[in-house]
């Protein structure tokens, strides 16, 4: 029988939840909906000690205010599902958390044919559904419906959101301590993501962690020392650096649908020990350039995991040069050296630059729809193998350290029909992040393939100029995009110059 229960905070504020006898169960908590389903009440099954309660208070009041009640606070409401009150009921501590936004619940779930014997319609979109290869394999009976899977461009957007959210927490001195696809909801249809289960936050030196994380995301040093007592100085517990490992794993999994450390190498014939070594002291990147001992053994891989399990067919370099550099830092140099792992900010920057390198696949049936330009003269979609046909302009961005002098920035912008130039391209002082004003998110120029050639139409740039012909390009006018063309986007301080390279196929 369902009953509505009223609970109180220490200050006397009341909340209600519906107890139907079978709450949703997380790892640590039992979760009940409010009668109007606008929030949930999540009770910790274990009694919370003084320290835990202090931590919760800090999360709910101090840290929440520091993030949400500052400039740009509204922006974060979409990226975090942050608890906002604490209640006590029958000796149990509970937190009040907003319900997840509606895009984070499956509309369709499984493919139609599977609907007869299983359904996940209305269930939360925990990230695992989208990080595992079989749920997108037609050979797997219970694969997700095409309408749920999004495309590769959307996964990049999802990763940007996650990196940005983690960056914000770290900037506030907080570590999540249990980042995993369980605790991050994603929606590949809209490219949104939200971090949930924020109650375990770790504040270095103040509130120690009480979890070591979720398998697949536990940092090697934490796994390797989990047998030591918590008080042992050599015991490694979750912190900002282990969050960085988890973040790197998550990004790798959302872009390549496989785990960066789960390969064919056997460390022990006992599966539990093998797992602990493979994820701990002996952890090795499956795509390590010289030590190839952990490459997946394709004869032992399930057919439903292909082609993603095949690192030769879809190597991590398909994510482009900026992300490759960070994957190297995370899984080769920094795997056992936490101090040099890429920060959330570095991931955000690299992902944003990668957006500019993306090209729509010309194959209308390509499942990924987007791919990163491979810097070759014969660009080709790595996912479906379709070669790009036609003229492909690539813009190289330059900045001016002093008047009259321009230097390359290792930043390129791919051109396709409908591609735009934004303020963060025209001026290096503008960054595409949560601080942009609404006006700044509008395009300032756009590209079109018109009468057999590429043109760029100026919409808002007040000092755009064709440098070679020394000709102003006023607002509303266009300029032809040809090989070697140099265009100054803005004469203002920080204004960029672009130089065109044209690939012809």
């Amino acid at each position: 029988m369902s009953k509505t229960v009223t609970v109180k905070t220490a200050e006397g504020k009341t909340y209600q939840f519906v107890d139907n006898g079978s709450p949703m169960q997380g790892g640590m908590k039992d979760v009940y909906f409010s009668p109007d389903k606008s929030y949930v009440v999540a009770f910790f099954r274990d009694k919370q000690d003084f320290n835990s309660k202090e931590r919760l208070k800090n999360i709910v009041i101090k840290y929440r205010k520091s993030i949400f009640e500052n400039i740009g606070g509204e922006y974060w409401k979409d990226l975090f599902c942050w608890p906002y009150d604490i209640v006590e009921h029958n000796g149990q501590t509970g937190i009040i958390v907003p319900v997840y936004q509606k895009q984070f619940f499956f509309q369709q779930g499984y493919n139609l044919a599977a609907g007869n014997f299983a359904s996940i319609k209305g269930k939360e979109k925990e990230g695992k559904w989208f990080a595992s290869p079989q749920f997108r394999s037609k050979q797997f009976k219970l694969h997700l419906d095409k309408s749920e899977l999004g495309d590769w461009g959307k996964y990049i957007a999802v990763c940007i959101k996650i990196s940005r959210a983690v960056k914000r927490m770290h900037a506030a001195g907080l570590a999540h301590s249990d980042l995993s696809y369980k605790n991050v909801l994603i929606d590949p249809v809209t490219g949104k993501a939200a971090i949930i289960d924020i109650d375990g936050l770790v504040v270095p030196g103040k509130f120690p962690p009480d979890v070591i994380g979720t398998p697949d995301f536990i940092a090697p040093e934490v796994m390797a020392t989990k047998y030591l007592p918590k008080t042992d100085p050599n015991r490694k517990l979750p912190n900002i650096q282990t969050d960085r490992h988890a973040l790197a794993v998550m990004i790798y999994m959302y872009l390549l649908y496989r785990h960066p450390l789960r390969g064919g190498k056997i460390h022990d014939t006992d599966p539990q020990k093998d797992e602990e070594l493979g994820m701990g002291s002996k952890a090795l990147f499956v795509e390590h350039p010289t030590d190839k001992s952990n490459r997946p053994k394709l004869n032992q891989v399930k057919p439903t995991h292909l082609p993603w399990a095949d690192v030769a067919k879809i190597p991590y370099t398909v994510a482009g040069p900026y992300l490759k550099t960070l994957f190297d830092k995370a899984f080769i140099d920094g795997l056992h050296n936490p101090a040099i792992r890429p920060t959330a900010d570095e991931w955000e920057q690299a992902l944003i630059k990668t957006v500019d390198l993306m090209q729509p696949c010309q194959n209308p049936n390509c499942e990924q729809k987007w791919f990163v330009f491979d810097n070759s003269t014969k660009p080709c979609c790595p996912f479906c193998g379709t070669q790009y046909r036609g003229q492909l302009p690539v813009l190289n961005l330059y900045y001016s350290p002093k008047p009259g002098n321009f230097r390359p920035e290792n930043h390129r912008l791919m051109v396709y029909s409908g591609q735009n130039i934004y303020q963060w391209h025209s001026n290096r002082k503008v960054f595409p992040n949560e601080r942009l004003t609404a006006e700044q998110t509008k395009p300032v120029a756009d590209f079109h393939f018109h009468n057999g050639k590429w043109i760029l139409i100026n919409r808002k740039l007040t000092s755009m100029k064709d440098v070679m012909e020394d000709k102003e390009i006023p607002i509303g006018q266009s300029v032809d995009i040809t090989d070697g063309k140099k265009i100054l986007l803005s004469k203002e301080e920080g204004g960029r110059l672009v130089i065109v390279q044209l690939v012809n196929n």
Partner: protein, 211 residues
């Protein structure tokens, strides 16, 4: 990709006839549909069902969750509860169905065993022969469930420290047990605490854990 083998040993002796066996069948359906909502379980769980009454049958060989179809489960009118034989069959199946890890291949995870009965073993000699064998198989967990007033915990305790006693064996109690089983199978993917044990989730309210 390692499988997580789950063996369900179910009592189908005469006393289970009627409401109880219907509840078990229902419970199995709920178990499977709940697990099919868990992406972690779908990636790894494989289930086998062995029933025992006078006869012992593996009504479903170890099958991956994605493809399995629940078998028909029937109970005879009366007869003994050959739990011992069932455990011996389990040992055989563990030897043949589980992929062992080798120097070149990753094997399965250590299997889980859930055994449910509303009585006690009739074949006590075989039961006593089977217990040490099962224990030597290095299972990840053995959970035994004694359902209803006539079920006896003492024998089950010889097999495992994890004995769940259900005071009644009505459909709602059995259902909560099966839900609990599905939650237990799913724990592998959940947050791991800083303390050492990976605990089973708390049993539903009507269940008593006998330690």
């Amino acid at each position: 990709m390692r499988r997580l083998p789950v063996y369900l040993l179910l009592d189908t002796s005469g006393s289970m006839r009627g409401e109880r066996i219907e509840a078990v069948k229902n419970g199995l359906q709920v178990l499977v549909s709940k697990l099919r909502q868990d992406p972690f379980a779908l990636e790894s769980v494989a289930i086998s069902i062995i029933t025992f009454d006078r006869e012992v049958k593996q009504v479903m060989p170890l099958t991956e969750l994605e493809t399995l179809q629940l078998p028909e489960i029937v109970t005879p009118e009366s007869g003994p509860t050959n739990m011992g034989k069932a455990l011996l069959m389990l040992c055989e199946k563990l030897d043949t169905e589980i992929i062992k890890s080798s120097q070149t291949q990753k094997g399965d995870w250590r299997p889980l065993l859930f055994l449910m009965t509303d009585g006690k073993p009739s074949d006590l000699a075989q039961f006593r022969e089977a217990v040490p064998k099962v224990k030597s198989k290095n299972l990840a967990a053995i959970v035994a469930c004694a359902a209803g007033a006539e079920a006896q915990d003492s024998y089950l305790k010889e097999l495992t420290g994890n004995v769940v006693h259900l005071d009644t064996a009505d459909s709602s109690t059995l259902m909560s047990f099966f839900k609990w089983v599905s939650a237990s199978i799913g724990t592998g993917n959940k947050t791991v605490g800083t303390t050492e044990d990976i605990a089973l989730p708390p049993p539903p309210q009507e269940v008593h854990l006998v330690i």
